[in-house]
Point group: C2
Chain length 327, copies 2
């Protein structure tokens, strides 16, 4: 019998093997990959999947789908203070996905693997009767025992959030036809923030060396921070007016004040929310500035239970849905 | 706002958190998990997914689906000589999957996590408009530099295969309605081998300390071993009559001799094929016996290209399809 590669092997060799630049990935020619973890470090492990029609639009560019699949995982590593090491990819493709889609998808993986320093270590490619499903398992490292957890926030800690909140949720609404008479620049800003998360991996080391507790904001600031408070056994008071909004989000809220709740509870921010002891707050701000990531102090951790968002007059805001949930 | 867990968090807490027994999994209450890799070891990384209607039947018991998802990955670790450390799970579920399915699925994960020593480290659960899709990322360890690769087979090596070959491919045919006038015991044997792989993790250490090259047989012995030969830049002569068949498979081939080709090229064996230098063959047999895994010498590695299966009279067999491929 001739030793001819199968079509599946050809697909892997053509699109994905060029991305497997780490020697332990063996050019994707083996059953598994290997890596020597950095000395004195813990491995940090994360998996998250995105599904066509659920987490992205079927007509999103394949390159953006690839980047989103990596970035939703990279965002978790950033929040945990971890440095990316690499990823595994499990890809389920409908029969009509062909060469053009795969070429663009592979280019998205390649560019982000370089940008974030996370090479491809291995993968699995299947046909599915369902939608495109991209599962990524991402692994990173932290010096032993230093992964920043959700549990750990203490009464008195300042609450910091990176970047701006709510853009992606508003961008999704724009994508679905909302208008708010926005100018084109604001429209594009919001659409872009939904399409392509900007994970804050540049902030990881500052988080690791300053924060008591941290998580990435992926299912809405209000609900996600409530999870952090729950496992930390604390409460929090957040000043809604201090939550950083982009100019585009501000324009939306000016047009429709109810959209503030969407911004504070909608998903897909991929920002970091963390708590920092007061005596480390200035140093954290300086480290964030050095990392070129904006951070904003939005409130304080307190004893007790529950997260309260305070309006400008000090009255608590109420939300219908605190967070996005698939179930 | 009250700190009420979401339905998604409740689902995770109820079905999956009890499986996250490693302290680094943080009871699945965090964004990520951490693990300290064993000192002096490389990590071995593998991901494989199974999809309803593609890799398993929609009416397979959820417990078996869970076990299959883990075992197709465990089989790769075994072939690489690696010891399992744990896994990440990415689960996409149609809307009609409920409590009963999840309870059974979680029980399958739990029992195999205990049996194979691979606890759950983290996961992701989404709703999908498509079929059930279970992606597992499995990680294991080997002493540094000792992962057994596909590349490495040398002319003169003996070719060993574990267990029996072809049962699962024949079992799939039975599942699809083939009969061959088999007795019930043989029918059940073949069906069972398709439904639930038996990965040879007990053989991993013997493979690691004896084999020059190794892989798991998942897409058919003929095609898979051709891949190993291709990256090892060798050829091989396999005596078809020596390939170990179960009594059930023998009964099928006695009824329909053409089914030998199905046995040798069909998928889902999850056995190990490896090459062992002649001077280590006896020691490998003894180590396999101590591990209680049957191994059979089926042929020899040679210089050149291509894998030849020889019939009893020494003539080469020809196959229409050497291996299963999704593409």
């Amino acid at each position: 019998m001739a030793n001819e590669p199968s079509d599946e092997d050809k697909l892997i060799a053509r699109y994905f093997a060029p991305l497997a630049v780490h020697p332990g990935a063996l050019g994707l020619s083996d059953d598994a990959a290997f890596i020597k973890p950095p000395a004195g470090c813990d491995l940090v492990l994360k998996t998250d999947a995105i599904i066509g029609g659920v987490h992205f639009f079927p007509d999103d560019a394949a390159q953006n789908v690839a980047c989103k699949a990596l970035r939703v995982n990279l965002s978790d590593l950033a929040a945990k203070g971890a440095k990316p090491l690499g990823f595994l990819l499990s890809l389920a493709l409908p029969g009509d996905v062909g060469e053009r889609w795969l070429t663009s998808f592979a280019e998205g993986l390649r560019s982000d693997a370089v940008l974030f320093g996370c090479p491809l270590f291995g993968g699995d490619t299947d046909r599915t009767p369902g939608p495109i499903t991209v599962s990524v398992a991402m692994f990173g490292s932290v010096p032993e025992g230093t992964m920043v957890r959700r549990a750990g926030a203490k009464s008195g800690d300042r609450i910091f959030v990176s970047g701006t909140i709510g853009d992606a949720a508003l961008g999704l609404a724009v994508r679905k036809g909302q208008n708010w008479k926005l100018g084109e620049r604001h429209r594009q800003h919001l659409l872009g923030r939904y399409l392509l998360p900007q994970p804050r991996n540049a902030l990881a080391e500052a988080v690791r060396t300053h924060a008591c507790a941290s998580m990435d904001v992926s299912d809405g600031l209000a609900g996600d921070f409530a999870k952090l408070c729950r496992v930390s056994k604390v409460s929090a008071a957040i000043e809604a007016a201090k939550v950083p909004l982009s100019d585009a989000a501000k324009a939306v809220v000016a047009s429709d004040p109810e959209m503030l709740a969407t911004a504070l509870t909608g998903g897909d921010d991929y920002e970091i929310v963390c708590t920092v002891p007061p005596h480390k707050a200035d140093s954290f701000r300086a480290a964030a500035q050095a990392a070129k990531v904006a951070v904003t102090d939005i409130g304080v951790v307190e004893a007790g239970e529950g997260v309260t968002f305070l309006s400008a007059n000090g009255a608590p805001l109420a939300f219908k849905h605190a967070a996005f949930s698939h179930f």
